[in-house]
Symmetry: C2
Subunit: 331 residues, 2 copies
Amino acid sequence: MKSITLAHGNGGEENGRLIEELFYRHFQNKILHQAEDAAVIGKGALAFTTDSFTVTPLFFKGGDIGKLSICGTCNDLAMMGAKPKYLTCAVIIEEGFEISALEKIVLSMKYELEKNGAIIVSGDTKVVPKGSVDKLFINTTGIGEIRYKGISANALSLDDVIIVSGSIGRHGASIFLEREGMEFSTALESDCRSLWPVVEKLIEADIDIKAMRDATRGGVAAVLNEWARQSDICIEVEEEKVPISREVKGVCELLGFEAFSLANEGTFILAVSAQDAPKALELLRSIEASSMAEIIGEVTTGYPQKVLLKTPYGTSRFLELPSGELLPRIC
Amino acid sequence: MKSITLAHGNGGEENGRLIEELFYRHFQNKILHQAEDAAVIGKGALAFTTDSFTVTPLFFKGGDIGKLSICGTCNDLAMMGAKPKYLTCAVIIEEGFEISALEKIVLSMKYELEKNGAIIVSGDTKVVPKGSVDKLFINTTGIGEIRYKGISANALSLDDVIIVSGSIGRHGASIFLEREGMEFSTALESDCRSLWPVVEKLIEADIDIKAMRDATRGGVAAVLNEWARQSDICIEVEEEKVPISREVKGVCELLGFEAFSLANEGTFILAVSAQDAPKALELLRSIEASSMAEIIGEVTTGYPQKVLLKTPYGTSRFLELPSGELLPRIC
């Protein structure tokens, strides 16, 4: 492969290979190689993460690029057990962009920052000529205070239980519909949401958390496969336990998508020790943001580094790391 | 003004107004309002800053977007007296971009990181379809350990001495020539360079530093005007003392640019107490990166919040905060 393809940004197989072979190889250091949602620095006290947002359309059902840019970065911190504290915000704006639209986006950011108890402390504003960028890209980079240590994609072990916080694939499916102008008069909207308030409750309840990850690009399939590989374990999932809304199922059937590979922006996967699973589930269900939480599977020694999807009929298949183009510009 | 113009990204008047009226207004908090090169967080222990790089062309005399993306962010930390430590790196790549060019850029970053003793600890890779971005944008966000406290654009006071570390306008002028394909067979190249090694020596020598800033977008004119406004003082500069290379002078004369408004990427302005000025100058001149350093002016009570350029003929003029389109995409 001599040039970059859309698949290199899919959150799956090709994306992982590019990161591994180019960025990890040249920038190598222990922290980077942990390959977590956020880097752990400062003797384990701080989490540090970055994300650039290129979503199109800028405004969508359930959110906009501003809300997404705060949720995305704050959620990466929350997923490491860190309270979002300080963010930077760098915007690249196309000449001619409406200032009123920019203000709407900034106000979404402000509103979402408040939910996280975080503030923007530094920024950068670039304006580029028409044609150099499609309307607006936003980078947010965040620092969080780690409140629960040891959460890691490398920390899963036998009998850990896998929980999903809500119904999957809503962000990817709804962005797709918006973009294609498919007016389904559907209730489907993005799950875009800040997760720190939920995570804070899990920590306060002293749940034995092994790993957490918001299932963004590459969806649930990417998260589970990365965990299986990094922890060298097998994850077995009961397919019918995974909550998928009627609307997302419809989009998948119509267009041949796999719900497990569709992006989420406010739905996360949680691995906890078996004895804490009932307590974690009960707690999650008591919170509106995760009221649809379900136990979907567990860690076994079945097929190391693999994710097995089991049907109620006794058959099973491997859930692979997503590959190919998927949907570009969903985040 | 209803829509964003190139002037909104000029590092000068309009840029400042947009930041003030939109971002500061809605994101308001004490740290952000300091309006320094980097935010000071963690009880004064850490500096935190972000920059997105959209420079075109990607490769230029004296550097490339990779080198620039490390220098830019590490220099913002250094200018706050902070040792660059941890960086994030988020790339937005256009589909079809050559992987060999990307690797060259990554290697430039690696090389420049080593000069700062900093590492990339977290990243993000987005690929967008053709036409959504012009080739490649890079965001770097950095955390530095503050080694010298109290450096601030608000800290200048009467009789402080203003020093420039080298000849001005080289980055802006050389990017302009490259972009226009003007083959002057000139020796002019960007001053793009990491400044931490120089700053470290100033700190070790216990120089009484008041303010430091790399004169990037908006050039020396922007830095001096911001200092004059933020510290509510007058800065008087002896115009003929300011080092400007023959090549930069030529570009300015030919094209009607003001060298004071042209961007620098490795040249900085330093304000020190009068009694430490000779020592600071001697030290800077002993280092290759700042061997052309000059004392160019001082803080007075002449015209509060103004910058006065004085000629050897006894005349003078105000050096204004740059306004208008200037050169887009120089960093």
